[in-house]
Amino acid sequence: MGIEALADRQLTGGLAELPALIRRVVASRIRDANAIDDLVQETLARVMTAQARLDDSALAPYAVVVARNLLSAQWRQDVRFKQHAHRLIDLTDASRPEDQVLQREESRAVASALAQLPEGERQTLIAHEVEGQATSDLAAKSGSTAGAVAAQLHRTRAKLRVEYLLALERTRLPTERCRPVLLSLSGGERRRQRELDAAGHLLECPECAGLSGPLLDRLDGHPEGEEAIIAVRSDRDVVRARQRGREIAAQIDFSSTDLTLIATAISEVVRNIVRFADHGQLRVRVIEDAARRGLLIVARDVGPGIPDVDRALRDGYSTYGGLGIGLPGVRRLMDEFSIASELGKGTTITMAKWVHA
């Protein structure tokens, strides 16, 4: 998808109304203004991370689901903290046997999920992920193409994630629609999501709503895939953030030119945070889809927001850029770029670059 088409999709796809919607959901449950701002920004960041895998019609319902999940997590954390605040030291000791139990649970879930896969798919997946066979070798063996093998692996992984979560959470799916919906979310198949009305289902099915978070907001099962989270408060963080971002990007096969474009884009957005917002955060991590790897960058700030995102994305207009270059330039540096902004609250910029073969 071209940059222009993608940006148009973001801006006309109802993304502009998301912050207000999320705020309504969050504000109906908690009072503390700072906590509300944080939760709205966190929800936005997660929705935007997942948007590449979601059909437009599912963005708003997914935002509601994420906000609800975060609210209950926050609420649970508060309660737990209050209950255990007086014995924090005991807690750190006690966590070890719990960790072991958790690990046992996880391997049980993986085994059970693998058992759900068709024999052929399971063997291909293991040959690729465990034995490290290249997709081109696997294609030669099966008389197929590397692209077709990669696409099949993508579908298999999507299936595995769903089965793994079901086994881990010991969820029983209440309807026939549940599994196909979860598969379409996990695989990022937008057309299928529309056919199934995945959006509508998320809102009415608590089981699927609960699983949609881990399915969409995930570190794409990538062995080296680490996420860097850089707090942004002062101009020193500009250099720090772009150096850290470049390090993460260097883990995959970006050209030196692409590494420079990425570092420059990070430098610009982080500087915007420093100049125009109170503080913010940058997250950088390696992502992959069916056939390629890339870098995902999410910058969010707590600040004034952008009054008119459309105008801010036009060349020569510098509401947010100050230096007259700003966001249109950054968009040209990346393959994918989108913004969600809430006036008086903050801005979230999500951008990605793919490794070009």
């Binding site: 030196s256 590494l259 420079t260």
Partner: protein, 140 residues
Amino acid sequence: MATVNQTEQAHQISVSILRQGAYLIASIHAALDDEELGRFQRDLIRQITKSRSRGVIIDVGALDVLDSFGSCTLRNLALMARLQGAVTVIVGIQPDVAFAMVHLGIHLEDVHTALGLEEGLARLDELTGAGGARSARGSA
């Protein structure tokens, strides 16, 4: 001046300013944050005034990023140097960095640039009309 010496010492690892005849050669050796960049700008202008330099080379070969703020600072520096009677040539912009700047929409057309130090010095000779003064190079 004590303050100048102190500042020089404080970040001599990141930047250096050397005098060569009527020219100053300033090199940035590492990524600078905004404060360091601002200090570099002040130091360089002060040195230009003090030594009455006619030309300044700024070597940015070690920079892996020149974002809009960095470019803007360089452009301002050149302008301020001009007001002190010195011509500025920026040298050593890496090809990848230049590519990123173009994509970003940054133009340095009002600033002189050259490939490396040698070319930069030749360019300064040309611009200041000092070709004869540097006999080893000859006039351009």
